[in-house]
Amino acid sequence: MNKRENRMGEKRYVKTILFNAKADSFFVNLHPFTKFAIFLFLSIAVIIAMTKPYPDLLFSFFIMIAVVYFLIESRTIKYLVKSYLVLIIIALFVLLIWWLVFNQVGVHVIISFSIFGAVLKITKESLYIGLAKVFGYGAMALLTLLILMTTRDIEIVNALNQLGISFKKTFFISLIFRSLNIMAEDLESIRHAQFARGGKTNKKNPFLKAKEFLALSVPITALMIKRAVEMGQALEARGFSKAGKLSQPVVKKNIGLLDYSFLTISILLLYISITMNITQVLGGVQWLNLL
């Protein structure tokens, strides 16, 4: 039996916004509010660390490693490697090159060359700051993916209910998630059908490309209308439009010890990023002979 199958006692994985995650992993069990707070605190912390006069490279690196650990722990790392790693590496590499080319700072030149008469130099300072940004943005990107890959869409809806937003409004959000889910499946079939009829959206000629996309819109629109009608009927068959005061969802995730622990650590990390530069404290900057 497939280890991800959903029979009793075998529900080891849960379906999340992106892919699946291990059901008993730390991040899967955190409350969505906690994850949002962690995301907020750590992003601010990383931005602070990156924007210091001498960015805190080790802090960003530490955050990135921590995020990678939780990706491994939640068994989501393989999806990241398969689907996003190449993209992230390319993006970060472009970011580094961009930084090195357009930010000619520092005096400790490592290498210099000229392009069309313009002299470009890479200094220890610019390389250091560039790497700190790469780690910083890398950490933020991975953290975002970690949260998406360990959060279920229903949790977001339930969390919004806990905030006091009415069930009818949160249900509307839930319906959007569900519609997107169905649409993604329909789109996959439509693209296959288009391919089977010799249509390709990757044509080089922009006119033909536009024509193919236009053709794609016919079945998508028709199906969206059909699905919307059917979902409306299904909703009405349950008496939604006549509903009075609705009961609250039966599943309510409470903020527990695990959430408090993670929140405390996040706040602590934010505090550290504000009050000190770990790289400097550990002698990293001096070691690089930058001061």
Partner: protein, 754 residues
């Protein structure tokens, strides 16, 4: 009987349409009463109005549909009462009308529709069941109690502990549909409507739903309306069945009476076998064991060509880590007609995506017509070689005109303009859509869309054609039409791969079956070998069709050597059987005498007909004789036969064209020599009804098992008697010689000499 919980009076309904064209009523003068705690079935052809009635009872129609206020009576008339409350009616106020009534009858009435995907509204299994209960406003404890109870009724108790962690995409179609049923049961409805709940499901899903319905019957105090095509399901569960045709109820009766009524056969989905067999047990007893042992069904074992598809060690893993294909090895040869079967998630779709060149990232070797499709350039050429027809035609309609839809694929693969025009005309004619070429495909009926989808692919003349679920959501007649087109393509040399859950289709058309389970092939062979393997059937949650089950009984008792797979083979067998029974001769002189007597009876009872139509060739002699005796000069011949060109009985009667140039004021007399099965006469009558409804049938002989009883006939012949007409001596002799019918030949020799 108990009090009615549903009462529909003089109901008319039609859907508003976008175009200005006037449309017919979808429901016309419908009157219906359904009683408390009744298990009521509704059946009828696709598009007959079954789902519309369900939505009317649930109060969704007309309340949820925007109608032009000044023309309400053109769309809706009549009254609908459910549980004693007025649900929908029209009320006149001054000069205008308005729709009154309660509208949606939730939670007292629950409605489960065909497609579980669109009905699953939330992102977890738990919230799906609790949604309706939250709408009612029940407290948490009561909600959880009802969730547990309803899950138990639909047989999903094992999911309860993990319910809140289950995402819709983690559930199979059957599980989703059962959860939807559970979500309505939890609301404790007094009426539950199940609108074709099994139509989109695989065999396993169907079994799950059937078991859930069986449990519903046990809980009592609930009225259930079940819309279904399958006679077996209706016979098993329902107390009464209504047969719908073009928005009208044409019969309401017990399921046994409905499915044994010969007059209703064209409206309900009854296998051809039903027209021969009343009860399995009685029928089996009547079989002549000696004859059965020597019978060998004729099957098209064609000489296969070179390898069309070659697959070795094929593996594919989805991004979420699920192994969809786990080491597939197979060869499919040119000209094969293969069924690819297996439960949802078995890997069928993934496999077909690979061989159609769409999916990349697999490991292993795949060659199409000898070319390795791991090469991107070759893969891009695949659409011109491998056609793919999707289960849902809405997924593959890319244009706003029927003819443009056919042209689309042809342009893409680089066919020249002149050739495109030719192929569009040819293909539209082939699928019967020539007259609709200017119309918008989005507004075609479901059956027409399905044919258009098929046409748009076959116009590309693919050497290999993959068809995904050709029969889903369609009645038997419509499915047969599509299968006949595929058979024709196969005869022309195309390799056909059908992905299906329909075992009747597998048995009747496919000479090779590949069963997949969890990404592996667990069976690859002939359908008869699959159906004989009980263990495998159980493992794959497959059910052999009734035709096969019946012949299995014969084989188990040692009476028969080979399994009979389809109604066609049964007909062939029974014909073989009949050849061993009694024979009578009807001389030309006797024919003249009978015709003379019949013409007297006709004149006295019905008057002189305006025209005589005879069925070629058997009816030609009596046609001419009747023309003389009745003094009717307008005599027309019509071709009709349910035999194929090689003399094998077909399940489908093909009728030729006829044009009658005189006005019909009285009636047309349709004549044939014998009403044997009655199918040919029935098919010709359908054709003639396009000219006039006033048709009278006259035959010399009539067999009681005929589906049509002629208005005039001369004498009754036993069902197992072969009537040899004198003027057909040579033809009958040749037929007996061809079939080695020794008893028949002996009879001919006795009567006519060598």
């Amino acid at each position: 009987m108990a009090e009615p919980v549903i009462e529909i009076r003089n109901l008319y309904w039609k859907y508003p349409n976008i175009s200005e064209k006037s449309t017919l009523f979808k429901i016309e003068n419908l009157n219906l009463k359904i009683f408390r705690n009744e298990f009521f079935g509704i059946t009828g052809a696709t598009g007959s109005g079954k789902s519309t009635i369900c939505q009317i009872i649930a109060g969704l129609i007309p309340h949820q549909i925007k109608l032009p206020e000044d023309k309400l009576t053109e769309y809706f008339r009549g009254e609908v009462y459910v549980l004693g409350e007025l649900v929908s009616a029209l009320e006149k106020k001054e000069n205008s009308y308005m729709i009154i009534g309660k509208g949606s009858m939730a939670p007292e009435v629950g409605l489960v529709m065909q497609d579980p995907e669109s009905q699953f509204l939330t992102m977890s299994a738990l919230s799906e069941i609790t949604l309706g209960l939250q709408i009612i406003g029940l407290p948490k404890e009561e909600i959880m109690r009802r969730v547990k109870e309803s899950l138990s009724i639909v047989g999903l108790d094992d999911l309860y502990p993990i319910l809140d962690k289950l995402h819709p995409s983690e559930l199979s179609g059957g599980q989703k549909q059962r959860l939807i049923i559970a979500s309505f049961i939890a609301m404790r409805p007094k009426i539950l409507i199940l609108d074709e709940p099994t139509s989109d499901l695989d065999s396993a899903g169907k079994i799950e739903i059937i078991e859930a319905i069986a449990n519903l019957k046990k809980i009592g105090d609930i009225t259930v309306i079940l819309v279904e095509h399958d006679p077996e399901i209706l016979k098993r569960f329902t107390d009464r069945v209504a047969v719908l045709s073009e928005g009208n109820i044409i019969a309401i009766d017990s399921p046994e009476n409905i499915f044994s009524n010969k007059d209703l056969r064209k409206y309900v989905e009854v296998s051809e076998l039903e027209s021969i067999i009343e009860s399995d047990e009685d029928f089996l007893k009547k079989i002549d064991a000696d004859a059965a042992r020597s019978f060998k069904p004729k099957r098209n074992e064609i000489n296969l060509g070179e390898v069309a598809i070659e697959v070795k060690d094929l593996f594919y893993e989805y991004p979420d880590g699920a192994l969809a294909l786990n080491g597939i090895d197979m060869n499919i040869k040119k000209g094969e007609f293969v069924a690819l079967i297996g439960q949802n998630g078995s890997g069928k779709s993934t496999f077909s995506k690979v061989i159609s060149g769409y999916l990349t990232g697999w490991k292993g070797m795949v060659k199409i017509l000898g070319e390795d499709i791991s090469n991107k350039r070759i893969r891009e050429r695949i659409p011109a070689i491998v056609g793919y027809v999707f289960q849902n035609p809405d997924h593959q309609i890319f244009n706003r005109r029927v003819d443009s839809e056919i042209e689309y694929g042809l342009w893409n693969i680089g066919i020249k303009e002149e050739e495109i025009k030719k192929r569009v005309d040819e293909t539209l004619a082939r699928v019967g859509l020539l007259r609709k070429r200017d119309e918008d495909p989005l507004f075609l009926s479901r059956g027409e869309k399905r044919r258009l989808a098929l046409a748009s692919v076959i116009a590309m003349k693919p050497q290999i054609l993959i068809v995904d679920e050709p029969t889903t959501g369609q009645d038997y007649r419509m499915s047969k039409e599509i299968m006949e087109i595929l058979m024709e393509m196969n005869r022309e040399g195309s390799t056909i791969i059908v992905i299906t859950h329909d075992m009747r289709l597998v048995a009747e058309y496919c000479r090779r079956v590949i069963v997949m389970k969890r990404g592996k092939i667990i069976f690859d062979g002939k359908p008869e070998n699959l159906f004989e393997n009980e263990e495998l059937l159980k493992e794959s949650s497959l059910i052999a069709p009734r035709e096969v089950q019946l012949s299995k009984k014969l084989k188990e008792t040692g009476i028969m050597q080979d399994l009979l797979l389809s109604a066609r083979e049964w007909l062939e067998f029974l014909k073989f059987e009949n050849e061993k029974k009694r024979y009578v001769l009807l001389t030309f002189e006797a024919m003249k005498k009978h015709s003379k007597n019949l013409s007297r009876e006709i004149i006295s009872k019905a008057g002189k007909p305006d025209a005589i139509v005879y069925i070629e060739r058997g009816g030609m002699v009596i046609g001419r004789l009747m023309s003389d005796y009745l003094g009717v000069k307008d005599l027309y011949g019509i071709k009709a036969s349910y035999y194929t060109e090689d003399g094998i009985p077909s399940t489908h009667v093909s009728v030729g064209e006829i044009s009658i140039n005189i006005p019909i004021n009285n009636y047309i007399l349709l004549v044939d020599d014998i009403a044997d099965t009655g199918k040919t006469i029935e098919a010709v009558m359908e054709k003639l009804k396009k000219i006039t409804q006033n048709i009278k049938v006259c035959t010399i002989a009539y067999k009681p098992h005929s589906s049509i009883k002629p208005d005039f006939y001369s004498y009754i012949v036993d069902n197992d008697t072969w009537v040899v007409f004198e003027y057909e001596e040579q033809e009958t002799r040749r037929s007996f010689e061809k079939r080695n019918n020794e008893i028949g030949l002996k009879f001919i020799e006795e009567k006519f000499g060598r």
